[in-house]
Symmetry: C2
Subunit: 356 residues, 2 copies
DNA sequence: AATCTCCGTGAAAACGATTACGTTGGCGCC
DNA sequence: GGCGCCAACGTAATCGTTTTCACGGAGATT
């Protein structure tokens, strides 16, 4: 039996369990000498406090839960990395539940995490306030990522899709394109909607006399390919295509190559996300970069802040900036850029007090 | 206060806590009628058993821990996906600790997980038996992934790097290349060593009269680029280059393009891993695919098997097959393939009883 | 010198579940 | 009708911690 408990340490150090607990935690309430002896014994016996017993009385698990949808690739791993890094730095454990594509699965996962975590990080495009209300205990501190939910009850951390898309359109205009088409993401996807809004706004601002040209996609490479073909079938094809994510841009690029078009000479192309593939395809894809590690890290830190003053919780709404990464698919910049180009990176932050 | 405990349910259902526990777990020892009533009350009150309290008495956490190194990209996310899928199916939670690049960090993470998990999944290239012995309680069921450790105390699940590399060399020979160079991975990396051994063995078998041509790499794109330049600087450059992983193959490809060589006409190229980028570069990379989701899933299932009959644990050693993915970088196959080509996929398995 | 104040320490009560062990009552059998 | 048995249920012990409270002694204050 390898189960060495606090009693064993106490017996060996000739003190009570209470003193052992004190020595190993705060250190207050015991002589420096006794504390030293206790710590030595604990080390020698390889004593590790029983997490369950501790959190039974403490009402803390030192664990935070992450609920993630059916994510693939770089985005997922970078996000976890960011969360994990920040969690470790603060002594939190990370309980992960990923790959949920139905709301029912997510709800079950949420319930299963009940009582095992001190707080939750939720990234789920289709989650809404009602769902959260139904499946989350109200007292559980929660940070929502990339969520459309606006509630004083939850902290929210979003990517600044709108500004990113806006900046990309601006870049396209600056490089000499005005007939800019847009390939959308899936319906009801918050990120996708924000990007489309950024596109529309920027078009209205920088190319007010050209009509928007929007075709549907769903974030898959395949849908990008078909969107590309749809665009080429138009009477006159656009000068530039802005896909709501990189995978669709890749699919679109294939459609263009297949049709014998040269990118960017015949048609320009831009994506969103800056997935690793973006720089490896040829021509390399101009896109909008999101610092995903920072997204994860910020999310955890926001949650940690909620946990620290849980007596009077301050929910926050933050937005994580993104930046245009210029590669090859949009051609050279014109000599005279548009005025008033805004740099957009870093975090903008808005605080709002929670109703008590 | 949202903390509804088993007592609340008991009071509301006019039974003892014991009956509530029985009704909610086995269901044995209570009338169907009473059980029904209790379950209804529990549901109505949204009772969720307190995980810590339960595992304090049960000595089970229903959680398994995953210790992973500083992994990036697709490999990491696919692995977690496989693990998570299998874990959810079996009702296990997943505690993740990733991004360890020093042994010291990994040891700390391992200690921190003590008592929070029923079993461990460890993927760490540099972990050895001594490290495990020092940092893992002997009683904790553990599955090692991609590990050189051979011990009856742990189950091990490896990718069949050797056979995969062997098969790739065979493919290169079949497509008409005999002067095949190899770019190694980092030293002491188990996967890298196995791949090199596969290369050497296949060369000895299929091209016994040509000397092996090995240059050093470390799995990074950059090292692949430099290795490519080194190879081109040789008096006569090889007919084909087999990089121990895809990222190095990508770097190598750049070196070749830079030198004005055409792939595969002037020189063939192959990688290992089949990362997503492999199919997007041009020419698309011929490589060896590993089903990473299956790796994760198998690892968890192996661990679950250990947990189920923990009274008499049977450690296993499994090997997960991989397959050659033929794309564009190796040119066309010759008319007459070599005889005796073995298909290699699926799982081969060896059992060994643990000393008791 | 008597009292007060700390400070270090130990005893014991939580925390919320599971489960071994009693207790009860109903039923069948002799 | 008495006996035993079994099913249903309750009582209470238990898991390993933290934390409150009480206690005693040493030093300070009067």
């Amino acid at each position: 039996m390898t189960a060495v408990t606090i009693k064993d340490v106490a017996r060996e150090a000739r003190v009570s369990v209470a003193s052992v607990s004190r020595a190993l935690n705060g250190g207050n309430g015991v002589t420096a000498e006794t504390g030293q002896r206790i710590r030595e014994v604990a080390k020698r016996l390889r004593y590790v406090p029983h997490a369950a017993a501790r959190s039974l009385i403490t009402r803390r698990t030192n664990t935070i839960g992450a609920l993630l949808p059916d994510l693939h690739g770089e985005f997922f791993s970078e996000l976890i990395r960011g969360i994990d890094l920040a969690a470790r730095a603060r002594g939190f454990h990370l309980l992960v539940s990923s790959s949920h594509d139905s709301g029912e699965e997510a709800a079950a996962a949420l319930r299963a995490m009940q009582g095992r975590v001190d707080g939750m990080l939720i990234l789920s495009p289709r989650v809404d306030a009602a769902f959260l209300h139904a499946n989350l205990p109200a007292a559980l501190p929660t940070v929502l990522l990339n969520s459309a939910v606006k509630s004083k009850a939850y902290s929210v951390l979003n990517i600044d899709n709108y500004t990113g898309a806006h900046a990309m359109v601006q870049h396209l205009v600056e490089t000499g394109h005005t007939q800019i088409a847009f390939i959308t993401g899936p319906e009801k996807n918050f990120d996708a909607e924000q990007r489309e809004m950024g596109y529309r706004a920027a078009m209205a601002k920088y190319a007010p006399d050209v009509a928007v040209n929007i075709v549907a996609g769903d974030f898959t490479e395949d849908s990008g390919y078909h969107a590309g073909r749809t665009l080429l079938a138009q009477p006159t094809h656009p000068q530039a295509v802005f896909a709501a994510n990189d995978m669709m841009a890749v699919g679109c690029l294939y459609a263009f190559k297949e049709a014998g078009l040269n990118v960017p000479q015949d048609i320009a192309l831009a994506g969103f996300d800056d997935i690793p593939i973006a720089r490896y395809i040829s021509p390399a894809l101009t896109t909008v970069r999101v610092r995903i590690v920072d997204l994860g890290r910020s999310a955890l830190e926001q949650l940690a802040a909620l946990l620290e003053n849980s007596d009077q919780p301050l929910t926050t709404a933050q937005t994580l900036g993104c930046e245009v990464i210029v590669r090859e698919t949009c051609g050279k910049r014109l000599a005279t850029p548009l005025p008033n180009r805004k740099q957009n990176s870093g975090i903008r932050s808005f605080l709002s007090g929670r109703e008590s």
